[in-house]
Amino acid sequence: MKHIISALVENKPGVLAHVAGMFAARAFNIDSLVVGRTEDPKLSRMTIVVIGDDRILEQVRKQLAKIISVVKVQDFANQQVVARDLMLISVSAPPEKRPEILALIEMFRAKVVDLGTKFVTIEVSGPERKIEAFIDACRPYGIKNLARTGTIAMSRHTKAEA
């Protein structure tokens, strides 16, 4: 089962290596890992998607919290969350196919961010299954390049305040 774990970490060199090393050493499976700064320059947030059962996840949480430079660990299991991936995808777009592709972009509320003579680069964000669906929809046209961020997430206020 996939779990989204969010860890607030000190914004220092070596922290990512510490976290990634712990996952490797303890044979935990990372589906994706995203790191970025937060509003506090001293802290970064890591959003990690982990595959495993409850027992493994309990260990993942505890082992993460044990790392000295990890300040706080939150598991979004059993919580209402907003979870988003961002993707840039470059698709073959000869002039005769462009209307179709543009319709697709419209349907997925995606955006054209670069347009060349042969290819179009599209930005799309959303829940993971939407990203996957968009990739599938692009496949027939020919995907030249693809880059994804992995999931970032936040708990929903509606639920949190309830």
Binding site: V9, E10, P13, G14, A17, H18, G21, M22, A25, R55, E58, Q59, K62, Q63, A65, K66, I67, I68, S69, V70, V71, K72
Partner: protein
């Protein structure tokens, strides 16, 4: 130069600027460090220059691994933090086995390594290694200091991290330019560790649940490990065992935290534990684990471990709880504080049927061996225990020697048994004896070692001689990697593949080092040889040529349940 630059600082402040190397030494002294193990080298020369006149007892090992084991045993024997300083590259790499040993056994060490100049890092400079990268998995924390202003605070943080919570080794990597750069040295700077919080007080509700479970139990067993020693909680453990009247079994690293002469003692459990300890665990209705981590050498087959027991687990490391075994009542916190609370809340229970059952097991399956025949290793350990009245500090190698030392010496106090439990590091015994002797100069320190374990680090004998440390090394010499040979005998049709070495004559070798050397071939010579060894004023090596194919019994083979012990027929034959 910009016009708004502040005027030059007054000369008093300029004088207050110290080089990083001096800040390191001053901070260590401020933290109460009086003993350091270490080995110099290129990039730590500025630091070693400051150590030249520092009021510090400095011990130079012959190899950094030995030095790290010394710092480790120094910490285990004294409850202080062990400190080791080595150079970059090979010096740092040689620490890794020692750090991993300390990590597995939760021993507080602060290791400082030199590093090449900051601007050279990543250039494959001479004696450069990615020390923080290499040591990350074998330290509780590590950090490279790139600004001299962060040096003092980082050292204070390292000591705090190493010695609190579940202790462990912390490494600080210090580039050469940082140790020569200057800055003001402030004494009282706060540590900045937003991610480091230790829960010491156990949750009152969990403690109450544990007390209730104890009071309702007919067949409880206390299963205690090195955490009780780390927490200095042996007295509280004794009070609990006596007040609630509960039997106590210890792990290998827990040996000494409960006096083995007490009627409640079940001695050691596990793969080579006492049969009565293993039976008691399998039949108990409540298992109270304190400062122990359900290691596979302790539990045997997990599925059938303590099958009828409710499990209470007291540990300062939340990650230890429910890692291997599902726990019913977890209590996270400091063992001393939690046991103190538990003592208040438990009632006295006689539990006569339970203790009668245990007495029967003890009578039927005592730890024993067939004393007929040649020189038996168990006899040597028993004789050591007799002549030292069970009061010596014992360190061990790894393998059969370690198990016999655990089984046949009578331990009564914490910090008396020092062994590499988790990592199982052969070669630990001799350097550990040196570290323990440095920490406890007035006590008898004996390394019970195997010939192959001793071979790995015997170069440290010259360290013992240099500092005139009167350690005693008892080599249980069977000319084999004894435990490997035992497994090959039992599980590989006696095909003794690559498990024997041609040894030097250890007694002669010891004399070449400047130590005493004794060789013992006959059983009847053992008491005299042990006496001679103990009376020796300096370091002494006694080479006991034991029966070559003696095995460690009982034994729970890998993957078997704890009560499926082999070798019990020996007891029946001898009964």
């Amino acid at each position: 130069m910009s016009s708004n630059k502040p005027p030059e600082a007054p000369s008093a402040a300029t004088e207050n600027l110290k080089p990083g190397s001096q800040i390191i030494v001053d901070t260590l002294i401020e933290l109460g460090v009086d003993t350091i193990f270490g080995y110099p080298g290129g990039v730590v020369l500025p630091l070693f220059d400051k150590l030249y006149d520092a009021p510090i007892n400095f011990i130079i090992p012959r190899h950094e691994q030995g030095g790290c084991h010394m710092a480790d045993a120094y910490a285990r024997a004294s409850s202080k933090v062990g400190v080791i300083i080595v150079t970059s590259g090979p010096g740092a790499c040689n620490l890794t086995t020692g750090l991993a040993t300390a990590m597995m056994d939760s021993v507080p060490i602060v290791a400082m390594t030199g590093q090449v100049r900051t601007e050279l890092i990543g250039n494959d400079a001479f004696q450069e290694a990615d020390t923080t990268g290499i040591t990350r998995p074998v330290t509780k924390h590590n950090v490279i200091v790139k600004d001299v202003k962060e040096l003092a605070r980082t050292i204070r943080e390292a000591f705090l991290i190493a010695s609190t919570g579940r202790p462990g080794p912390v490494l600080i990597d210090i580039p050469l330019d940082v140790s020569v750069a200057r800055c003001p040295h402030t004494q009282s700077e706060q540590t900045k560790l937003p991610g480091y919080r230790i829960r010491t007080q156990g949750h009152p509700r969990q403690i109450a649940l544990a007390a209730k479970a104890i009071n309702e139990s007919d067949r409880p067993v206390l299963y205690v490990g090195g955490g009780v020693i780390t927490a200095n909680a042996s007295n509280e453990l004794r009070e609990l065992a006596e007040k609630a009247h509960m039997p106590v079994t210890t792990t290998l690293l827990g040996l000494g935290c409960f006096d083995q002469s007490k009627p409640e003692s079940l001695d050691m459990l596990g793969m080579h534990g006492a049969a009565y300890a293993n039976y008691a665990v399998q039949e108990c209705d409540l298992l109270i684990a304190v400062g122990a981590r359900f290691d596979d050498r302790v539990t045997g087959k997990l599925k059938t471990f303590a099958p009828n027991a409710k499990i209470v687990h007291i540990d300062i490391d939340p990650a230890s709880i429910s890692k291997n075994v599902r726990v019913d009542i977890p209590v996270v916190g400091d063992a001393k504080l939690i046991l103190t609370e538990l003592v208040k809340q438990v009632a006295h229970g006689e539990r006569t049927p339970w203790f009668t059952k245990i007495s029967n097991w003890k009578a039927k399956f005592p730890l024993r061996y067939d004393s007929a025949g040649g020189l038996k290793p168990q006899y040597v350990v028993e004789e050591l225990s007799r002549q030292t009245e069970g009061k010596a500090i014992i360190t061990t190698g790894v393998g059969q020697n370690q198990m016999w030392a655990a089984q046949f010496y009578q331990y009564s106090r914490p910090r008396q048994f020092i062994s590499s439990g988790g990592l199982g590091t052969m070669g630990f015994g001799l350097p550990a004896a040196i570290g323990a002797q440095v920490a406890r100069p007035d006590e008898t320190v004996i390394a019970i070692d195997g010939d192959c374990s001793f071979n790995m680090t015997l170069t440290e004998l010259s360290t013992a001689v240099q500092y005139n440390l009167p350690i005693k090394v008892c080599i249980l010499n069977n000319g084999y990697m004894g435990m490997v040979r035992q497994w090959q005998e039992l599980f590989y049709n006696k095909r003794y593949s690559k498990s024997f070495l041609k040894n030097p004559d250890f007694a002669v070798l010891a004399r070449a080092f400047g130590a005493e050397g004794i060789r013992v071939d006959k059983k009847s010579d053992v008491p005299k040889a042990v006496k001679q060894m103990l009376e020796c004023k300096g370091p002494c090596v006694a080479d006991f040529r034991i029966e070559r194919e003696e095995n460690v019994w009982p034994m729970v083979a890998a993957g078997k349940s704890l009560d499926e012990m082999d070798g019990l027929d020996i007891f029946e034959r001898l009964a």
